[in-house]
Subunit: 317 residues, 2 copies
């Protein structure tokens, strides 16, 4: 098989967006579709915020703030400061230009547009040619159950409490009745390869898999399906993945990622730092690509994406 | 009668806000209530914008952009630029900090708060001690019928077309079923003096008077009631008042202002440039205060307000 013509990636925020950029720059224009987690979506100041959709869109538009990897580069915070002056909490850092996205998305939703339609329109206006698809147009809320039984909204756990609470379990409220959009179904069905990005498996990828029909579509797909491990040397590249896996009884290591995606992947990409796990993982019938998975520069992203695309073709041959 | 303890002012945007500032700085704290036009309110990007309420609030908070007299001083436009990048019209100049007001107002309205409640909360957060009351909590839309029969929304006429279309008539859609808030009724009933600010009579004051019950409340009020002419030397101090009066068959002059408010005022304040009209206006039973009515600096506003308050006490003695 030659280089795949249509790659579908499943992604959350920063890590997923970084690999998506690499794939978009490596594949021909229009050959990539990214299916994005919306379980982190929430309402703030009456605005509908879709953090992962925005991170993927801004990244692919070349507008993202490189550090921390979300928000718009060079954005200012005058609006948020004024919101603070009015006495509101301002722990979620929304920039002025970022605010435009939330304002227009909210207005469009109220007019009856779907999140899928709005996302496509906003991304197109920013010159993005990759298809960015929300996992569903229905509300799904990732909720965190802490060790002491508290139930926290995702952003409360993730941003306000800086993922410090110990997690007992994670639930995806609304997922059981959420509908998988036709666009997502068609994308997965027409894919020549499926890539699960190095996003948090529990917080970013599992919500996508929780939308009824999604897991089955991937399980049944007769194309190479691979995941990229977000864990390197027992640590998350970014965010709470390692801490969370440990709290939920999983060892933070590529083998646990492979086990977590059991039945959904044919191959796993993981870091040379974890080379020792290669044999063990391959023994479970999973192909492996061991390489440098840290994506700092755009060159890193493109290099990793190109390696993955090269390797993918051989997985099921 | 000594200095009135409770003054009620009727106001539109810039001119009304300027006199309100003068009155607020001259009267004891809390002795002023401003009833503000909401006929210019409109929705943009899904946000509820109340231009006159904001102009009055920002002015009284000492935050207004002195030139042009609306918006926030030193505001930036990053959000609006991004909205433009998304392909939306950006002819209405909303600043980043200003946007905070619209976002929080819209969120509160959707939660079921009244415009009266929200306005009070936002003004209090900015340290304003003057009561600022919307003329109604119900939707009223000032619509412009042009000479060639077009019907324009207010901001389309006023901002986008820079009040260039010739006006045949003005209607206040929704006014006939709008309810006068209890707060407004109580303010007018408890007033020791009523001041109609130098706002556009047709575009800013008449919408307030069009709310059922308002005109009667003022007509029946047994306290000094005065207006300040927004016309000086045949021209409007700011905006389209003179042009509009002419187009609607009124001569732009203090006498026409006095006639327009017939039955509602006992006195008229107008500029020394129009001193020649004094006799004529007094012959119609209206007291006059002829003075410098141009308010450039805060000192001008305070001086004019103090003169008016001094003079008001003697009007019905």
């Amino acid at each position: 098989m030659s280089e795949p013509m249509h790659v579908v990636a499943l992604a959350g925020g920063v890590g997923g967006a970084r690999l998506a950029l690499g794939l978009a720059r490596t594949l021909p224009p229009g050959a990539l579709t990214v299916i994005v987690n919306t379980g982190d979506d929430f309402e703030l100041y009456g605005l509908h915020i879709s953090p992962d959709l925005d991170t993927v869109t801004y990244t692919l538009a070349g507008l993202v703030n490189p550090d921390p990897g979300w928000g718009l580069a060079g954005d200012t915070f005058a609006c948020l400061e004024m919101i603070g002056r009015y006495g509101e909490d301002t722990w979620f850092r929304l920039g002025d230009r970022d605010m435009a996205t939330h304002i227009l998305r909210t207005a469009a939703l109220r007019r009856g547009e779907t999140l899928t339609e709005i996302t496509a329109r906003l991304a197109a206006a920013l010159g993005v040619r990759t298809k960015i698809l929300p996992m569903t147009d229905d509300p799904v809320a990732t909720m965190i159950i802490t060790a002491n039984g508290e139930k926290l909204e995702f952003q409360d756990y993730f941003v306000r409490r800086r993922w410090q609470p110990v997690v007992r379990s994670v639930v995806y409220e609304g997922a059981e009745v959420a509908r998988l959009p036709k666009t997502v179904q068609e994308a997965v069905k027409s894919a020549n390869a499926i890539v699960i990005a190095p996003s948090n498996p529990i917080l970013s990828i599992d919500p996508i898999l929780a939308v009824p029909g999604m897991r089955e579509l991937i399980a049944d797909a007769d194309v190479p399906r691979i995941a990229v491990s977000p864990i390197v040397g027992g640590k998350a590249i970014k965010g709470p993945a390692a801490k969370l896996m440990r709290e939920m009884g999983m060892e933070p290591a590529p083998a646990a990622i492979a086990a977590h995606y059991n039945g959904l992947i044919d191959g796993l990409v993981f870091d040379i730092e974890d080379e020792g796990e290669k044999e063990n993982i391959e023994a479970s019938g999973i192909s492996t690509l061991v390489t440098d998975t840290i994506m700092r520069t755009d060159e890193d992203k493109i290099r990793l994406a190109a390696e993955i695309l090269d390797w993918i073709g051989g997985i099921r041959e």
